[in-house]
Symmetry: C2
Subunit: 391 residues, 2 copies
C-alpha cells in the first residue's frame, strides 16, 4: 500500500492521478487531497477516494467541508496546505499545483523527507531549480517529472550512462498555431489558443503550448532536472505528439518514448518508477504511428525557445537565477492577461522579450527571494504590456 | 584491451566490425580473423590488423598464406576454424559467418566459454535456438545480437522489467519490392532484388529482405534470443529504416531505438554492452527524421511472416524444432538458386509454403541432427521448386 498525496486534485493532472490510482489496482491510496476553489469536485473526490485530510484555499470552503465531513482533517489557505503536508502521512506526493504557488509546497515536501515527489508543477524547477534540487539532493528526496516530455527523457535514460548523452530532444507539437505567420498570430483569439490539437490540458499550459513558452520552460526545467548543459537540450516540432521526447547517445543511437497523448502514462511512471504498471492509457495503434513528422521550430516559435536559452546563458554566466524566475513569473501574468482579453496573443512573447532584455540578474537565495523577484516581474510585465494597474 | 575474434572478417559485417574496432579508439584488437574464399581482402586485413591467427576454407589458400606469413597460425577448413577458436585467446567473438555453417562455430565458442558472442549469424538461432541458448545459459556465455532490429530491442529493454513487455515490434523496410503485386513480383530480376533502398548488405540477406524472409527469420530468432511467445512478436513496415525496432510495455509506453541505417552501431553496442562507445555511425539529422511512416505488412509480405508464426506454433505444439530448421535451410537453398538464375523470385516463398505444408516435425537433439534436417530440407526445396539435382 502506497499513500499518495495529491496536491491540485481537482485540476487536469490531479483528476488523472486519482484515475490512475483507482484504475491501476496497485493498492495505492490518496490520504491527502489539496485543491483551490473547485469544492464541488473535491466533495465528490472525498466520497470516492476517502482521504484523511483535505486542504483548500478559502476559509468559507474549509468551514463548509468541516460541517459536512467532521471525520476529515480540513486545512485552509497556503499555510494550511504546508501544515497538511507536515501532519499527514504519505509515501509520495503528486504536486500538480499551477504556477509559482506550487513551489513552497515542494520545499515543504523536501523538508518533510522520506517521500517521493512526482512533480507536475513546472514553476518549481523553472524558478527554484537550484534551491529545490540541492535541497532535494541533501534530503535524499527524489523528484520525478510528471510531464510527457521529461518522463520520456527519463525513460530513454534508463540503462544508459549519463556521460554518453549527446543531447536530449524535447518534442513540441507546435500547438494550434504551428506555421502561423506573425501577421496571422496577431489576430488569434483566446478560444483558438486554448484549442490544442492533441492534448486536453489546463488553460495556462494550453496557452503556453501555443506560444511555445511551454517548451521554453521545459528547456529550463530539463537543465535542473537532469543537470544538462543548455547546448545539450534541443527542441524539434513533432505535430502528432506521439514521440514524447528522445535522447541521443554518442554512439549515434537515439532512444525515444512513444505513446498516445495521455498524461496517465507519465503519471503512472512517476509513481511506480523504475517499474511500470498498467496506466489506463490507450495503446498506440498502427493508425497513430502511420506518419510521424519532425521539423525544426519556425523562426516565430524560436523566439520563445531563445528566451530560455538566453536566460540559461545568463544564469551560467552570473550564477544569478533571477532571469528564469522573471521569465516564468512574467509569462504567468501575461497569460492571465491574455485569458482575460486584456492583451493580444502576440503581446505575451513580445513583452517577455522586452522584459528579459532589460532584466538585471539578481541572486535568489531563498523561496522568499524567488517570490519577490516573481512579483516584481509580474508588475514589470504588466507595465511593459501597457496595462495600468489599479491600486 | 579486449580481444575480438572476427568470424567472417571479409563479409559486410566483418569488415564493419574491424572498422569499429579500429576507429573506436577503445583499445580493442582482433587476434583471430576467419573468412571463406576472399583471400585478397584477408591478406590486406592481416597487414592492417595483425591477427595472431587466421582461418580460411580452402587448403590452397591456407598454404599460400603460410608461405607469405610464416609468423601467423593458419587454420584450414571447417574443422580448422573450430580448432582456431579453441587455440586462440580472445574475450569476445563476432560471428558474422553466413548461413548454417555459422552454427558449429557458435557451439564451439560456447564450449570454449569465458567469451561473449556477438551474433550476426541468424541461422545459429533460427535453426539451433533451443540447443544453442540452453548451452550458452549453462556455460554462462552471453549472446548479443548484431542486427539492427534485435539490437534495437535489446536497447529498448534496458532498465525495464521483462514481465512488463506487451510485445516487441520488429520494423521492416519492406525491401525493394514494397507494395508490389504478385504479378509484378513475378517479373523481378536478381539485380532488382539486390538493390535494397536503405541498407548495403550481403547478397543472401538482401534477397531475404526482398522476400520478407529476413523478417520471418528474425521473428524466430527473437523467440529464442528473448524467450518471447510468438504472439508478443509483431512486425511493422517502416520504409525509412530509421526506427530499428520498438518494445511496447503494458503501461502503454513504447520504447524505440532510432539511428541511421549503419551496422556499425549495433556492432559497437554488442561489443561494449551495456555501455555505449562511439561507433563511427553517422548521426541522425532532422532530414532523416522529417517523415517516419509505419504500416501493416501487405498480404504478399505476410506470406513470409506467416511461415515464421506457423513454424513457431508447430514447435510450441510439438517441442520438435525441425520446422524452423527446414524453413531456414530451404530458404538458403532457394535464395542460392534464385541468385544463380535457376528459379524466379516468387518461387522462393511459394516453395517454402509447399515445404512447410508437408513437413513432418522431428526432434533435433544435436548439431548433427540439425545439419541432417537442414540438408534434407534443401533437397526437398530443390525438388519442390522443380530443380533436378544432378547426382
Amino acid at each position: 500500500m502506497k499513500r499518495v498525496a495529491v496536491l491540485g486534485s481537482t485540476g487536469s493532472i490531479g483528476v488523472q492521478t486519482l484515475e490512475v490510482i483507482e484504475g491501476g489496482g496497485w493498492g495505492y491510496y490518496a490520504p491527502l487531497l489539496a485543491c483551490g476553489r473547485n469544492i464541488g469536485l473535491l466533495m465528490e473526490q472525498i466520497k470516492r477516494f476517502r482521504p484523511e485530510a483535505v486542504a483548500v484555499l478559502r476559509r468559507e470552503d474549509a468551514e463548509a467541508i468541516r460541517r459536512e465531513r467532521p471525520d476529515i482533517d480540513v486545512y485552509c489557505g497556503e499555510s494550511g496546505l504546508l501544515q497538511a503536508i507536515e501532519e499527514t502521512e504519505f509515501d509520495m506526493a503528486v504536486n500538480a499545483l499551477v504556477g509559482i504557488s506550487g513551489m513552497a509546497p515542494t520545499m515543504k515536501l523536501i523538508e518533510k523527507g522520506g517521500v517521493r515527489i512526482a512533480l507536475a508543477n513546472k514553476e518549481t524547477l523553472v524558478a527554484g531549480g537550484r534551491i529545490v534540487m540541492s535541497a532535494a539532493k541533501e534530503a535524499g528526496v527524489s523528484i520525478l517529472p510528471v510531464d510527457s516530455e521529461h518522463s520520456a527523457v527519463l525513460q530513454a535514460f534508463r540503462g544508459n550512462e549519463k556521460n554518453r548523452i549527446k543531447r536530449i530532444i524535447l518534442t513540441a507539437s507546435g500547438g494550434p498555431f504551428r506555421g502561423y505567420t506573425r501577421e496571422r498570430l496577431e489576430g488569434v483569439s483566446v478560444k483558438e489558443a486554448l484549442a490544442h490539437p492533441n492534448w486536453a490540458m489546463g488553460k495556462k499550459i494550453s496557452v503556453d503550448s501555443a506560444t511555445m513558452m511551454n517548451k521554453a520552460l521545459e528547456i529550463i526545467e530539463a537543465k535542473w532536472l537532469y543537470s544538462l548543459a543548455p547546448q545539450k537540450i534541443d527542441v524539434l516540432v513533432h505535430p502528432q505528439s506521439i514521440v514524447h521526447s528522445m535522447v541521443e547517445y554518442d554512439d549515434g543511437a537515439m532512444m525515444a518514448q512513444l505513446g498516445t497523448p495521455d498524461m496517465r502514462l507519465p503519471i503512472a511512471y512517476a509513481l511506480t518508477y523504475p517499474e511500470r504498471h498498467s496506466s489506463g492509457a490507450r495503446r498506440l495503434s498502427v493508425k497513430d504511428l502511420c506518419r510521424l513528422d519532425f521539423e525544426e521550430p519556425s523562426a516565430e516559435a524560436c523566439r520563445a525557445l531563445n528566451l530560455a536559452y538566453a536566460v540559461l546563458q545568463e544564469i551560467a554566466d552570473t550564477s544569478k537565477d533571477s532571469p528564469a524566475i522573471a521569465l516564468n513569473g512574467a509569462n504567468e501574468a501575461l497569460v492571465a492577461l491574455f485569458l482575460e482579453g486584456r492583451i493580444r496573443f502576440v503581446d505575451i512573447v513580445d513583452t517577455l522579450e522586452k522584459l528579459i532584455a532589460i532584466h538585471e540578474p539578481a541572486r535568489a537565495m531563498s523561496i522568499g527571494d524567488i517570490l519577490e523577484i516573481d512579483a516584481k516581474a509580474r508588475k514589470d510585465a504588466e507595465r511593459l504590456a501597457g496595462i495600468k494597474t489599479l491600486l
